[in-house]
Amino acid sequence: MSKHVLIIEDEPNIVEAIRFVLSREGWRVDTHVNGANAVDAVQNAKPDLLILDVMLPNRSGFEILRDLRDDDTTRDLPIMMLTARGQSKDRELAESYGVSHFMTKPFSNAEVLSAAQTLIGA
């Protein structure tokens, strides 16, 4: 059964590139661009892996991460965060909220794929 990945990222060209790379692995990839209803989107999609941007319209990725970790249904969901803010305090904040993997931009396709494979157990 193919793995299901949800990407929440508001940069369409980045989404397109990641989507292409992961789809090529035979995975099903859905996308979402808004922070406001991101938690609902995750709960409805029930992905095997969530790729979550930090800076999203209307709501921060950190808040979304925190809410997902507070919810029993998504507490153990593998979540990879993407950010252009590589400051250590951002990484520490994400880790304190329970991020599975923290990746700073610019990243390579190989890095994203490798991290996704590790998190998803593929």
Binding site: E11, N13, I14, E16, A17, I18, F20, V21, M55, A84, R85, Q87, K105, P106, F107, S108, N109, V112
Partner: protein, 431 residues
Amino acid sequence: MSRTSLTGSRIRERRMVLGLRQAELARIAGISAAYLNLIEHNRRRIGGKLLLDIARILDVEPAHLSEGAEMALVSSLEIAAAGREADVETQHINEFVGRFPGWARFLSELHGRGETLTQTVEVLTDRLAHDPQLSSSLHEMLSSVTSIRSTSSILARSDDIDPNWQARFQKNLFEDAVRLAESSQALVAYLDSATDMGEITLTPQEEIGAYLEAVGHHIPALENGDMETARADVAHLGQDARGLLDQFFTTYLEDVKRLPLSQFQEAAATLSYQPDLLAEMFSVSLPAVFRRLASLPFEDPTQRIGLVVADGAGAISYRKPIDGFAIPRIGAACALWPLFHALSVPSQLMQHWVSQMSRDALDIACFSYAHPKGKPALNAPRILESHMLLVPQLLLPERAGPRFDMGSTCRICPKRQCDARREPSVLAEEF
């Protein structure tokens, strides 16, 4: 130990000034020499009648022995020692201040400067971390770069890519390239404006540099001999900056007296801003002409005349950059500059045509002259000051001279084969 124990050091100092032996003072005061020795080394308190007696014998007011600025110094050192991980012998602060007041003051000042610098770094770090425009510009750039990297990687490494996907990725690549160019320009414009506003002004030299750039290195009040107005205009600067500017203003006034503006301006234009001819015409030194040329106002900024002044160690004490010739604010300047060559041939005027290796480089006539500073003394180190005047080609198109390419500073110089290189460049290619 009580802070009044510092009195001992004063007693000792005063006694020695008077040429009294310790045993003699002890005898007159009616105490043992051993006890006086303990007092003088701040190991025994002194007060009351004994203090009054000793003050009388030493012919000073008792207050002179028991009060003073050392108290503040002790407090300052106590603050400096507080919270240090290193084992500081705080019980000996009084003794330290009493016996080594110069070192104590130095340590206190050092601590104060350290604290100031720490605060400055914190403010700048905070500014960088929380400046919304900077953060947004960098985010925009990093997002574009990420997209370009991912997309180009797909295009470069996928042989079997569907033509529709290929077209989409090519379109994305173009969009992101445009976006990256625009966000880069926005960031540069923002950083330029931040510098113009003087938001990151830290050291006295930087304060002075920002002030001189703001007034175009031309000070109308001094042109009219009005030192007080010039001082009032810089009253908002720090004390150190004002002190340094006072010296600068004094020299500026002297230059104005010898080379009045209207007369000098007319002569300079007539002689195509050639400093050697102007120095001869007005019978003044070359550095005075250099300074005066650098202070001339020009409506067209491309006509600005630049100047760099450095000491024999290469430290730049004055900088007025011009279009096409960048002067580094941080780090050492290019060792190929004639400014440094002039130090090896003092009192010899040199002229070269120079061009910096950058995209916006221009041909600049560069006049260099180094001269000794201070009074000569037997076997004393020779202190040299070097000046480099930067005149745009459009002001003196006819003058000949050898040509050289050089950089601004190694870090941003693309010249690969260079004997003067100190460190690698961040730039990849020669222009």
